[in-house]
């Protein structure tokens, strides 16, 4: 589809260091998840799963994808491993410190994995596939 914005557009204010907005990113809360690993159940893991779903690491078609739990389950472990490959991190499948630091960095909103495939380091994403399709070509 061709998207034509039909909403009010802001007039951006360029950085004026006397009028700053230093609000923390909502992703900063992920720092509290450092050290989590498979089998844990920790508040906030459901939000992290949504993060990974947003960027294509967890399938949209999964039956559980609309009601994520705070369990560190196999889907999250698999997403983490793929993410770690893509970002040249040690593939631990755990939320180690370096991985968390990478997760909270500001980034582009375009998914790393589109329609279940990526040519970043992890190669083809072997899952039931993300149906997220950010690239619209018709």
């Amino acid at each position: 589809h061709f998207f034509e914005p039909n909403v009010p557009t802001p007039i951006p204010s360029w950085l004026n260091e006397t009028q700053i907005n230093e609000t923390l990113s909502e992703w900063d809360a992920f720092r509290n998840l450092s050290g989590c690993h498979a089998g844990d159940r920790v508040d906030g893991l459901s939000k992290l799963k949504k993060y990974f779903q947003y960027f294509g690491y967890i399938s949209n078609s999964s039956s559980s994808s609309f009601n994520f739990t705070d369990d560190f389950d196999d889907a999250l472990k698999s997403a983490l491993e793929t993410y770690q490959k893509n970002f040249n991190l040690d593939v631990t499948g755990e939320l180690d410190e370096r991985t968390v630091q990478q997760i909270v960095r500001p980034r582009c909103g375009v998914p790393d994995i589109v329609n279940g495939s990526t040519t970043m380091n992890s190669g083809k994403y072997n899952s039931s596939s993300s149906t997220r399709f950010h690239s619209v070509s018709h």
């Binding site: 061709f2 998207f3 034509e4 914005p5 039909n6 909403v7 009010p8 557009t9 802001p10 007039i11 951006p12 360029w14 950085l15 260091e17 700053i20 907005n21 230093e22 609000t23 923390l24 990113s25 909502e26 992703w27 900063d28 960027f55 893509n86 970002f87 040249n88 990478q102 909270v104 960095r105 500001p106 980034r107 582009c108 909103g109 375009v110 790393d112 589109v114 329609n115 495939s117 990526t118 040519t119 970043m120 380091n121 950010h134 690239s135 619209v136 070509s137």
Partner: protein
């Protein structure tokens, strides 16, 4: 480097592309010049040219700043987090999060604002998407998905150049030896946040 599924690109009949800014944003010439520089970095290495136009609705590529839910199903999330997104060819939509502390001039690496984001760095990256590039795992590449605040990274490296030239060919004037295998112009503060 990577491509979107199906390797979409602008057709051969479209080598002289136009871009326009959302009129509602009322951007100044200084801001528009940041985007002009960003487009120039890609035209230097390819057969593509980019020309700004005042005709927003007929432009090939449309640039706008938005806040929160702006109607495309990909709402922005306020300061930091996701900074911008763009769509693959031939869609041409390029959206930036109006909530960011965008820096358009001066040395972003010396900003006292920890959430300061360099506009040109993000623009160069998103234009790569508009042209058909996906994300890269090469950390120094422009098409690497993340960028720390107070960081400037605007120079294409070999990974970016190889990818875009696979789609559109090389600019005959392009001097490959001038492209670093790793970014020279990459400055950062202490890495936070």
């Amino acid at each position: 480097y990577s491509f979107f599924p199906g390797k979409p690109r602008w057709p051969d009949s479209k080598r002289d592309l136009t871009y326009a800014f959302s009129p509602g944003n009322q951007l100044t010439d200084d801001v528009k010049s940041v985007f002009a520089r960003a487009f120039e970095r890609w035209s230097t290495v390819t057969t593509l040219t980019f020309t700004v136009t005042d005709s927003f609705y007929t432009a090939d590529m449309k640039i706008g700043f938005f806040s929160g839910d702006h109607g495309d199903g990909e709402p922005f999330d306020g300061v930091l987090g996701t900074l911008a997104h763009a769509f693959s060819p031939p869609n041409g939509q390029f959206h930036l999060d109006g909530a960011e502390n965008w820096v358009i001039s001066g040395d972003v690496t010396k900003s006292s604002v920890t959430s300061a984001v360099d506009l040109e760095s993000v623009a160069v990256h998103e234009i790569g998407h508009l042209l058909g590039l996906g994300h890269s795992s090469v950390e120094d590449a422009i098409m690497y998905p993340s960028i720390s605040s107070r960081t400037r990274k605007v120079e294409l490296v070999q990974d970016d150049v190889t990818g875009i030239q696979e789609l559109y060919g090389a600019n005959p004037s392009y001097n490959a030896s001038s492209t670093p295998s790793a970014s020279h112009e990459r400055e950062t503060s202490d890495g936070g946040p």
